[in-house]
């Protein structure tokens, strides 16, 4: 009996070696969003029969730029290699002066995304986004913001908000934390004035009433979310923290088309949709020339704001 169980477990866990297949690079440590995206892709591709035994490899470091550099140099023309990435990578490439950029790989599609949410602890005297902006205008140093790593999406969003409110972005008092968890603890513990992170990180706390949601960074109001957009509040800021998948550089047009078709098949599958629902990720599928244009726009806007904050010279 035991042997049977073990055998079936291993047979299930270890796919039978048969055909060459996708290797997905997650340019981050296990546990983060990119790693989870890569592992979810692995599961769905296998279950949908797109790839018989996709593998995930973690190449952590420096906001994904180490993984990106290694991926670009080792896989030229390899149609089986994929890398997961996202908006954070755009900023990291700029702040780290990375020699390899997204131009050195073949972006395939944007898969998922999250909007930023601005919250205050329930005990805070600040009631709405206008109140926060007024406090910020009065004394930017007195408003401490807890969020993710320096130069990351959260930091960029605070810089954009300050700029839109007419406050000098170099004057923001941004407190960087390594993971979403630590920042959330600081907000819940009333250590800081306000917090900023992707909406999903805060959702459970907002429902429980321990955090007050002031605004979200989406272009339009989100379904089921009781908060104005930043634009409604008179701040011209929209920001999406998206995740994407890219293929190796030097692919032929046919190869690129095949990879795109495989990814599209995965992203349109019921399995993928169910995974997104389970994890609370938004489907923000975008591919082809539209995605390329969006990418271009994001890169130039990010470069501008990072210069304003003083993180990029």
């Amino acid at each position: 009996m035991k042997q049977f169980v073990l055998a079936s477990l291993f047979a299930g866990a270890v796919a039978v070696p048969a055909m060459a297949d996708y290797t997905i690079i997650a340019p981050a440590n296990p546990g983060g969003g990119w790693d989870q995206t890569a592992r979810t892709m692995q599961t769905v591709m296998q279950e949908e029969g797109i790839s018989k035994s996709a593998q995930v490899q973690n190449v952590p470091g420096a906001g994904g730029t180490i993984g990106l550099a290694q991926f670009a140099s080792q896989n030229n023309g390899n149609p089986d290699a994929l890398i997961v990435g996202g908006y954070v990578m755009v900023g990291a490439i700029l702040t780290n002066n990375s020699p390899v950029s997204l131009k050195d790989v073949t972006p395939i599609a944007r898969l998922t995304g999250e909007y930023e949410a601005i919250v205050v602890p329930a005990a805070s005297s600040i009631q709405d986004i206008q109140g926060l902006v007024e406090a910020l205008k009065a004394d930017p140093g007195a408003v401490s913001w807890a969020g993710g790593s320096a130069g990351g999406t959260d930091h960029i969003a605070v810089g954009l908000i300050a700029k839109a409110a007419g406050v000098d972005p170099t004057k923001i008092n941004y407190i960087a934390y390594s993971g979403g968890g630590e920042a959330l603890a600081a907000i819940l513990g009333n250590q800081v004035t306000a917090g900023i992170s992707s909406l999903g990180e805060f959702e459970a706390q907002i429902q429980a009433g321990t955090l007050r949601l002031l605004a979200v960074s989406s272009p339009e109001r989100l379904e089921g979310v009781d908060a104005p957009t930043l634009q409604e509040a008179g701040l011209d800021v929209t920001l999406e923290n998206w995740r994407m998948v890219a293929a190796a550089p030097g692919l032929s047009d046919e190869q690129k088309a095949k990879v795109t078709a495989d990814i599209e098949k995965m992203a349109k599958s019921e399995n993928w949709q169910k995974q997104l629902a389970d994890k609370g990720w938004m489907d923000t599928w975008l591919a082809g020339p539209e995605f390329d244009a969006q990418l271009e726009k994001d890169i130039s806007a990010t470069e501008a704001i990072l210069k304003d904050i003083g993180l990029v010279k």
Partner: protein, 164 residues
């Protein structure tokens, strides 16, 4: 604490002086690197350069202290060392590093295995290298095939598991 310590032994300790020099260089590098950082202390007043600067000065202070002890001959006796075995292990690690992505995990690690065994007295490399490669290959198979750890594969691994 040891018996030798009580004898008046005021010889200059050159190796300890070299350590002092090393600490001095490390401290200087810290200070040099922190000097070129932009001071983004912001509201805290403690910027990215502050801590490296403190550590740099501390290392320089420790270098001076080490130099004084070295000149007074206060450093403890070192155990007598036999250098060739140490070099065998270092060579094994260096070869593994160089060969890992060329020959795959098993061959590179098998050589490390054999060199280490040599350092501890098994001198017959013609015997230990094959043993090492077979053992490393078995380990590779278990961890990469059963437990899905990503370990570099080379010709040998591809021969047995065509997909690697």
């Amino acid at each position: 604490m040891s018996g030798n310590r009580h004898e008046p032994q005021r010889r200059r300790d050159m190796a300890a002086l070299a350590i002092a020099a090393g600490l001095l260089v490390a401290g200087a590098v810290m200070l040099w690197d922190s000097a070129r950082l932009a001071d983004l202390g912001g509201y805290s007043g403690v910027g990215p350069a502050s801590v490296p600067r403190v550590v740099g000065f501390a290392l320089i202070g420790l270098a001076v202290w080490t130099a004084i002890e070295a000149l007074r001959g206060d450093f403890p006796q070192r155990p007598a060392q036999n250098i060739p075995p140490v070099l065998w292990i270092v060579a094994g690690l260096a070869l593994q590093l160089v060969l890992l992505h060329l020959t795959g995990f098993s061959i590179a690690t098998g050589i490390l295995f054999a060199f280490t065994a040599r350092a501890f007295g098994k001198r017959n490399l013609a015997m230990t290298i094959p043993i090492g490669i077979v053992f490393a290959f078995a380990v590779w198979a278990v961890f990469s095939q059963l437990l899905m750890l990503h370990l570099p594969a080379g010709p040998l691994e591809h021969l047995v598991f065509p997909r690697g």
